[in-house]
Symmetry: C2
Subunit: 571 residues, 2 copies
């Protein structure tokens, strides 16, 4: 049974659509989540989560126990398939629907998460002879060991005046496909030579589902330097390393699939894994942040969606092209077909709060939180909420995991100024929350300077449940905050895309209107607090430029030197 | 029975001196300690400690429970008398000596710790009508609420070219007598009017012991701006505030007692408190850091004594006068009569480590330390000790309690640069230790630039027991470290002074040779580690000048602005 447009243009057919469903699968950093969504209204009927068996390998390689160098982060691709085998059927069972009423499946992934494969898609790490080779595994988005390679990519592109560079804010990230692949070439040339494809995990999982390798427009544009129908030129790549000359043509280039389009039909093998009907629509892959925009009904120009979890991604559509310094990228059709999709991001947000409570909060606090039956985050938040703006006397830089926008520099690091002997844990906790809000304001101001004003901030992701944090973001940005109506935004977004791929809606805009959910203006800025935050934000900006733009601003490059000193000390 | 010089000039008479003793009493921040010392060889025979009943009042006033503003720190003077009543007889009992064999008593105190009294020495806080008035109490050394007053004192002295300013490194501290008194005048003029004397606690306790109010040369020189026989001029004080014109003449000026001289004989009342013989020598008062030098046999030019506890004081004698920018002060006879005594200091050292473990170390660490039966400092030190220099990737500024030398600015605050999601508690702990070592190196370099090279670093105080910390100080300063042979340096130093006051030795040099103890070259610098620390120290200096000398170095005055923002927020 399929649902399609009727002659009047009303999608979907209400009579039958109330009994049709789509499945969205969101591949996060630590787990995969499947959700079953009703096509006609977006109701979420059931979901299931599977943590990855091997998690994130950032200290040792699971297969051998060998140590990994600093800044590495790997994953095991079979963990992704396990999500299809386990979480998808569990979600369908939880939803209480009949599998045969599922019209399609859509997926989204962290990015740039990328792996080397053979021509048939077999990951190199699954070949017995490569099981002990770290470079044969998936490089997770937060693998940051390719920074020297990214630096060379950027330097050379600047020297040669490569036109694509401005589309990425003037700097390519070490997280992306070219930097990570150059690291493979130079550190393990045998792996590089053996790989037929350098595949985004977002596209690899679609390949597993439908048997076709289609590159999605989103990841390919943002992470693989694909602009105006071209990758970086052969001569440029040869100048980086002669062995890299053919990288784009030989290892990357593939047909590009528009977001929301059908990549293929579910294979018999994948139907067996998932329990879904063979042949149903498998949607082109997508990136977790970008796919969230339709789930929050935020696909119109000027609506910025901040997906706030361990890190934050900011995605926004506009009807015009502007090259914004320091953003992650702008891609034609990168969020929805027909609009320019802009992406920016903060590489550590919830991760910083998590690091803080794990490493910097004393026993008296964790014991008191236990006594109250509160999570330590809740307890610190409650303590921090009662203080006036500025009372802690602190300002922090939110770079414990580097900076993705607008500095695009993963070698930056954290900073806290103003601690005294009277500084309490809740003070630093609040200062860290504020620092991440300041980081978001820097991004918003970069867009505004480039002529792309942000008119609405829509928040999605796990941090939406922290009301203090939300209010701080509203006060710091002086914007009203809308909040997505689902706690499973990316998975619902994938389901929306699946509905389009299955033909239930004519495009993502229409599907988002029917299936997305948002609560408008849940938080609004308080003028007095906003004024106090202006003063703290000015301090943040001064420190931001001094430590983050040392060369341009007569600043201090100490963060980079400390990284070098650390590497030398550990050698 | 007394011991005095015999005709041959050999001090003391060995026959009788082995049966004579002196008592030293050290008044610290939280407790008073008495120690009984044998005159002829400095053997420590017994000691006792009494914590102050009222501790440090930095949040509320004990008498009423009323809140105190930020940066206040008060004490109750009767707590000091309780030490005489309790700890002194306990120490004598513990020593197993006969009280009648005690020749004298010497005392030392934190400074500048200062209180308002009537003409007879009665503290104003002991008058019932003033018991609820914070300004009637002792202002402890770390009362920092007079910073605005200190700023005015410094600005005006600079404008008028006051000659004494250079003797204090170019800046007077908010901790000292004039700033604290100006705060009393302007915030509680009734208290100011009513006080007959503004008395160093160091001299007040001697007054209690012998009935005579003698100002000691040490505190008067370092803390009361007494130079070349004069206090700041009446016209200068009037320009600060007309009501302050007579402050020096009326409330401060008194006869000055040389260090090691006799202030008077023990009164009957004090003999009853202490159980010591009436009439024995009571030595002129002294400051805890300065009095430690003879206990460590470090009273010759170029020997720097660093007394490292909650804060660090650096005292050093020289045979010549040089005005060293940023030091606390240089005073003729300020450490021993006949030499120029130089003082510098770091206002937070052990206090920072204490704050860190109380506020920033997670339960998993404190539980593991418990399991091992270790103090949390020991456990963190053990973890930190195994890492190579620079491996943590951090650099910190040790200003959580402000900066006493060479910036003399209590509104500065702490800073940590370089934290990542991989940063562990032991990493920050080590970075904080290193920051304090860098702070000491800044002081040593300031002396060297002024033509006063430091030839030996002698460490005293509670932190000597941390071997990692000691080695880091040796590596960072590239100096061999000697360690005092007593864990009760100030009390032993006071006892040495008492022996001189009682006539058992001709001067402090001779008494120090006989009674002091030091272990030479316990730690020596490692050249490779020292080289790596040079690189980190360069980073420290850059940050030090950027944040601490904002006006002179095109830096960033953010720490002061954050203090202002904090005060406004809490108003």
């Amino acid at each position: 049974m399929t649902t399609s447009a009727d002659a009047s243009g009303s999608f979907p057919d209400k009579g039958s659509a109330s009994h049709t469903f789509v499945v969205g699968v969101d591949y996060g950093t630590l787990s995969g989540r499947a959700v079953v969504v009703r096509v006609h209204d977006g109701a979420e009927l059931g979901s299931a989560v599977l943590p990855y068996e091997h998690g994130v390998m950032d200290r040792t390689l699971s297969s051998t126990g060998q140590s990994l160098p600093p800044d590495w982060a790997l994953q095991v691709p079979s963990d992704y398939v396990d999500v299809l085998r386990t979480a998808v059927p569990q979600a369908v069972a939880a939803a209480g629907i009949r599998p045969e009423d599922v019209l399609g499946i859509g997926t989204d992934f962290t990015a740039c998460t990328v792996l080397p494969t053979l021509a048939d898609g077999t990951p190199l790490c699954e070949l017995p002879e490569f099981a002990d080779r770290p470079h044969a595994y998936v490089k997770l988005w937060k693998h940051h060991a390719a920074q020297p390679h990214a630096d060379r990519i950027n330097r050379l592109a600047q020297e040669r005046g490569e036109g694509w560079l401005a589309r990425y804010g003037g700097r390519i990230s070490s997280e992306w496909e070219f930097a990570k692949a150059l690291q493979v070439l130079e550190e393990d040339p045998e792996i590089y030579a053996r790989m037929d494809h350098w595949v985004e995990a977002a596209d690899w999982i679609v390949w597993r589902l439908c048997g076709a390798y289609v590159r999605d427009a989103c990841a390919t544009g943002y992470k693989a330097i694909y602009q105006q129908g071209r990758y970086p030129a052969r001569e440029y790549l040869a100048a980086l390393n002669p062995g890299f000359a053919g990288f784009a043509e030989e290892k990357v280039a593939r047909p590009i699939g528009e977001l929301g389009s059908r990549a293929g039909g579910l294979t018999a093998e994948a139907a067996a894994w998932t329990g879904l009907p063979e042949g149903i629509a498998v949607c082109v892959g997508n990136v977790d942040a970008h796919v969230t925009a339709p789930a929050a009904q935020a696909v119109e120009p000027g609506q910025m969606v901040a997906i706030m979890g361990t890190s934050t991604c900011h995605v926004m559509n506009y009807d015009r092209l502007s090259e914004v310094p320091g953003i992650c990228g702008v891609v034609d059709g990168g969020i929805v077909a027909g609009l320019w999709g802009y992406e920016a991001g903060q590489t550590g947000v919830g991760d910083i709060f998590g690091w803080y409570v794990d490493n910097c909060v004393p026993a008296a606090y964790t014991a008191e939180a236990d006594r109250r039956g509160q999570d330590i985050h809740e307890y610190l938040t409650e303590l921090a909420a009662s203080q006036p703006v500025g009372a802690h006397g602190l300002v922090a830089l939110d770079w414990n995991n580097g900076n993705r926008s607008v500095l695009v520099d993963h070698e930056l690091s954290g900073l806290v100024v103003g601690q005294t002997l009277a500084t309490r844990p809740e003070d630093v906790y609040r200062a860290l929350i504020e620092a991440t809000a300041f980081g978001t304001r820097v991004i918003i101001e970069a867009y505004e300077k480039a002529g792309l004003p942000v008119t609405e901030l829509v928040i999605a992701g796990g941090l939406t449940k922290n009301a203090l944090l939300m209010q701080i973001y509203s006060d710091v940005t002086r914007l009203p905050l809308s909040v997505i109506g689902s706690s499973q935004g990316p998975a619902v977004g994938s389901a929306i895309h699946a509905a389009v791929a299955a033909g239930a809606y004519p495009d993502v805009h229409a599907a988002a209107r029917a299936m997305g959910r948002v609560h408008r203006d849940v938080y609004t800025p308080d003028d007095e607090r906003a004024g106090r935050y202006d003063a703290l934000f000015a301090e943040y900006v001064t420190l931001h430029d001094y430590f983050g733009r040392a060369l341009d601003h007569a600043g201090n490059d100490v963060m980079h030197r400390l990284r070098r000193i650390r590497r030398e000390a550990l050698r």
